[in-house]
Symmetry: C4
Subunit: 220 residues, 4 copies
């Protein structure tokens, strides 16, 4: 059944956050929209990644109210719900405090697009969203408004961390992994001087090609 598979996928994807060192203790979460329903599934709050099971993944409606599951959902649930409500093309959302991305976020500085891999995945700079307190719609609103003007699937929330979106939970996790990877490389490049710019038209070409040619067309 659909929700069961999605819970398995979302449960398993948290292990990628751990593998790529994007999360410490329990600070990071993945969610996925239930296809064709006004529901999404998300990590329970404060549960160790070792202890996550498909059954522990919580099912919520698009207001963030739990409809299935015995545990409390992630404290970031309201932000995920807001994204699903206002970005119908998004089927996966990830939130982390990954080190290098959060460092750019702490300075409120967008990551400039100086790597071809950044052009590929983000189509330009990775933008900064507003400072927002947890507990209402402010974070979700900041994520949606910032992403609306950009090709980037990642946004750096000021003094906080990263939100990424995708057409699937896997795509959103990939964006979170690549976001930290380029945040780190551009940081390191900047430590000893100024990275060379990439011409905007080359960024466009790279982004277009990557979104349409990369990977396996049908069977993966």
């Amino acid at each position: 059944m659909m929700i069961r598979e999605l819970r398995e996928t979302v449960c398993r994807l948290h292990a990628e956050l751990v593998r790529y060192g994007l999360v410490a203790w329990t600070a990071g979460n993945v969610s996925g929209r239930v296809p064709g329903e006004d529901l999404f599934v998300i990590k329970p709050s404060g549960v160790s990644y070792d202890d996550l099971t498909p059954e522990s993944i919580v099912v919520c409606d698009l207001d963030g109210v739990v409809v299935e599951g015995t545990l409390s959902p992630s404290s970031d649930t309201a932000a995920h719900a807001y994204v699903y409500r206002y970005m119908p093309e998004v089927n996966g959302v990830v939130h982390t405090h990954s080190t290098y991305a959060s460092a750019w976020a702490a300075r409120g500085e967008a990551i400039p697009c100086v790597l071809t891999a950044m052009a590929d995945e983000f189509g330009g700079e990775i933008p900064v969203g507003p400072f927002a307190l947890i507990g209402g719609d402010d974070i979700g609103k900041g994520v949606v408004e910032t992403l609306s003007g950009h090709r980037s699937p990642a946004v750096l929330m000021r003094n906080h961390g990263v939100f990424t979106v995708g057409d699937s939970p896997t795509s959103a996790v990939k964006a979170a992994v690549m976001c930290e990877d380029v945040a780190r490389t551009v940081h390191v490049a900047r430590q000893l001087g100024d990275p060379l710019p990439i011409a905007p038209e080359d960024i466009d070409r790279l982004h277009h090609r990557y979104q349409h040619v990369y990977g396996q067309r049908s069977h993966l």
Copy 2:
């Protein structure tokens, strides 16, 4: 039986120090207060994390004198004992030389609260305690006096490393993990400029919410 379970917990928690890269060789230790008794359990001195067993964990009284166990206790036992004597609400203590936290400690500089995750866990800056020699009560005294004026469960001991406390050994380990995580992120942020401040009243709100709403209320 109580002490046996606590030894198992404390033994197992050392693996988290290793997993998060907070310790090199044998330099770091976890202790836990025995509920309802004037005793605590602590790592034996100089024993490799691979070789730790629940049986090897040493039981001490609150003066740091061994009451059970065939090995010598951690050379930091006096500091742990002091904390248990003077902070009755503390049930777990952790000490590490984790890289980024120790780097702030080497400069004698508090870590400013510029991340929401820092507001959540530490409620403000992570303060610096005095330089103190091992072998008496000086380290423990420095830990207790510094933590008394702060919401932070972590203190950076000058030119030395970190001590964290918690209402359980697990909470103290979590604080040690989060301390290194934010020490690293703020360091990285500072390398390329000045992190943006968070308003004190927002720090208060975030801290209050995190301490009262985050995680699972009863069953975890």
Copy 3:
């Protein structure tokens, strides 16, 4: 049979890219020339390193056209093919976006030879190749032209990443591992001052000795 063994080797070598942290998600690939034939084998595009099997490795001719395999080859196949066409002594090619090497590449700055290990493996600085768009021969041409004037088996492609070559796929992977290792060490050295130079004649002596004396002569 030759191709089967080569596929196994190339499949297995991708695990070294993962082990040494040279790749995030699927961004990095290894290829190997089929001895005595105008063919090479290469990673399929967009496939996770966990899912790679010898069977999934794609066989191409030297124009990059697939001759065996059901998956699309790496999007970097044209660059690998170009290298095999124009550098007949090369039997292995590796491409990564490893962090520190890519940071030098983002600044368009060669890595100066200030470590004996660099003299050993690279015989001098690691040079920078041009900015080139994916999709034609430009990247391959930039790799070949840059390497032609150098003893280095590694080239930093501007704003992009690293290509390394070797007389076997294993040698090319070793060069990729060592390239990131020295890129990191020289970066760290430069953060706090100027590394001391090594005299050119000492670089020559070290390189000559390493290429002729190091390792096991026949049986490895």
Copy 4:
């Protein structure tokens, strides 16, 4: 039998170099003196750490001539042999190119003693030895002459890497692990300012205590 146990120990200790990230590919080696004989055992040259077995460890006399083993010994054998000839109290030697220590070595800069853990293990700064070419006694001589005036069991060889010594192979590996750990922490501390000094008399007290009180007295 003695040599067999020593080969097992030295073989196993190479895994610690890997675990602590001190080595890339095959660049690092451990040796151990055979008690009561003019012999030592050392890693074979260019062999992967995964493939090391006790049998592959080579036995040499104190001139570095192989007396048992079918593989060529480490290309650093002459340096190890020199140390065993001129430092009779040394029973273990380790050589690595670990990142942070090698970065200090590339600048030819000693690591200042600004951490209590450094005072404990090294008793002061970690000194820099001369630039020396491989292939004769120059490296060994540089190691011995530099260590003679210091309490430190580690020396940073200019533009090269680290040598550590100990009264056992395990002690030398511990010194190599701690050397990289403090090299990293002091580097990080220095990136954002000047670490506070520790008074020389406090360094003396810390070193004396650590060498005489730390760990288990007899049974470990």
